[in-house]
Symmetry: C2
Subunit: 346 residues, 2 copies
Amino acid sequence: MPDLTCPVLTPADDRILLGHGGGGRLMQQLLERVFLPAFASPELDARHDGALLHVGTERLAFTTDGYVVRPLIFPGGSIGDLAVNGTVNDLAMCGAKPLWLSAGFILEEGLDIQTLDQIVASMRDAARAAGVTLVTGDTKVVDRGKGDGVFITTAGIGRVEAPATVGPDAVRPGDSIIVSGDIGRHGVAILSVREGLQFDAPIVSDCGPLWEPVAALLAAGIEVHCLRDLTRGGLASALCEIAAKRQVGIRIDDALVPVDEAVRGACEMLGLDPLYVACEGRFVAFVPAAQEQAALTVLSNVPISSGAVPVGTVLPENPGIVLSRSRIGGHRVVDLFSGEQLPRIC
Amino acid sequence: MPDLTCPVLTPADDRILLGHGGGGRLMQQLLERVFLPAFASPELDARHDGALLHVGTERLAFTTDGYVVRPLIFPGGSIGDLAVNGTVNDLAMCGAKPLWLSAGFILEEGLDIQTLDQIVASMRDAARAAGVTLVTGDTKVVDRGKGDGVFITTAGIGRVEAPATVGPDAVRPGDSIIVSGDIGRHGVAILSVREGLQFDAPIVSDCGPLWEPVAALLAAGIEVHCLRDLTRGGLASALCEIAAKRQVGIRIDDALVPVDEAVRGACEMLGLDPLYVACEGRFVAFVPAAQEQAALTVLSNVPISSGAVPVGTVLPENPGIVLSRSRIGGHRVVDLFSGEQLPRIC
């Protein structure tokens, strides 16, 4: 089901577009055309949120993410929280307890130190809340007009506590798909600041750490097949990537996907589909259908996942395709966006 | 011996200067004023090139660095080589065999893909040469005019093979100080491109991986006390930091410090002191005086360190002070620069 509106990277002439950073089809192309051929390895080929490493008898997860969000401070967080929680959550999605972080700062000449202080304080608080230690770092400064205030790249190491590999390859037909709470709040919070929108109650980012609910699932003996946090590209892109990697079909029910009323209203006004809007404290879990109720009970007892609900199921048919049943009964194909709805959301 | 030309960070009003990224006194201030208070931990307090982590019975080193060098491609390398070797070398300086890397790319909209291809190819080649695997990565894109082509932040994990901790705290009075080869080539190679200078023979960066000579020292049973690669701020800053951290005196002999004739000539023309110019394939080693000759024999048999020479010694007196004996016999104090001689050198 090709997306005819998507430009194709050709060997020469082509330039990087904002959409290449968007978690959609353009980004997949950039990965497949530039990065994966150069760095082919079993770890990268798994196309998961982190790499699995064997150290002695221990299994570690290792992951990295860059953060370029604009504005630097937003309702419910800052680039600092995001840089801690984003990497903590990538580790959690590998079934790994987050332990250690590194942070590389790229500062623009002219940044005021008070803003930096505020960002660093939010990183410290987020690291404490997530139970990780920032153990090593680096700072570079670029000339005025060659950066944008602050960019942060964090890398993280965690200890894998899931007994079996958690990832797209472990997804099976019949699995129940659970979303850990209402979606789209982070993206709408960012956009409301950028666009100067006013709501009756401000929409606040859901940015937060996700290891606690994952640890609870594992402690309860839930056989967690796959986890994915719903960042760039939102729930839709996460499901599309997993369906494509595992070559299974996925069917979800639009009416079951939780969206806060204010977020839904803002999305309608802005012409956004909430399924594609980024969260920074939500994830999707694939578990055996027989354990769906047990998983929901566990998640509902952890504050950050107390709104968990089942939204769909994995099918043997239609490999690589995600279908959504609309509120009025028809089905639509949920596909990767070409670029992205919202640039620089994280 | 305060540097009176160095501005002092005050709580308010102050802004980031290019010099805050320079590896000199301003950068130390930024660390001490903003980052260390927020992230206090034994690992960060060690003020070494990487953090030491205990995983089961294994000791790992973990480090990160951002790369913002301009131009992206330079004589002898590119930002890609640099991003691999710089992090590989930080691990080697912890006495750790580099194993795994992560890479976070921040691309500017409009970058041509051929340049990205060239950079990625140089990373692939550098990773192969250094024996490390890039296992996880991330790409973000920022709007045109909000970046500068490509920034790369790598993090690395290595297995510590040194029997005892390698770092400033292990330095002892009487130690011999060995430099692994001629200094200043990387900085001058970069500057010659920026300034459009022509030399009879082009000066090429010394960018390269340093684990092989470190492994050879360890295999030969050399009791390596401290290692430091000579990047931002060059040999002078490395020695100043170690003298300050360990509270020992250091004396070096200017005439013993190897500088290529073309590099020396370029430095004179440009008004640079080679002691402060960055290398990307050189390090300083602190070893017991009794093992100096053995260490030199080992290093001279490894191509990248074949030019190793002793340049000085550690003294119990003058704690925190680095003295250099000049070619005409007097002594000068070698101090941290306030900012940096050459911005965006790595």
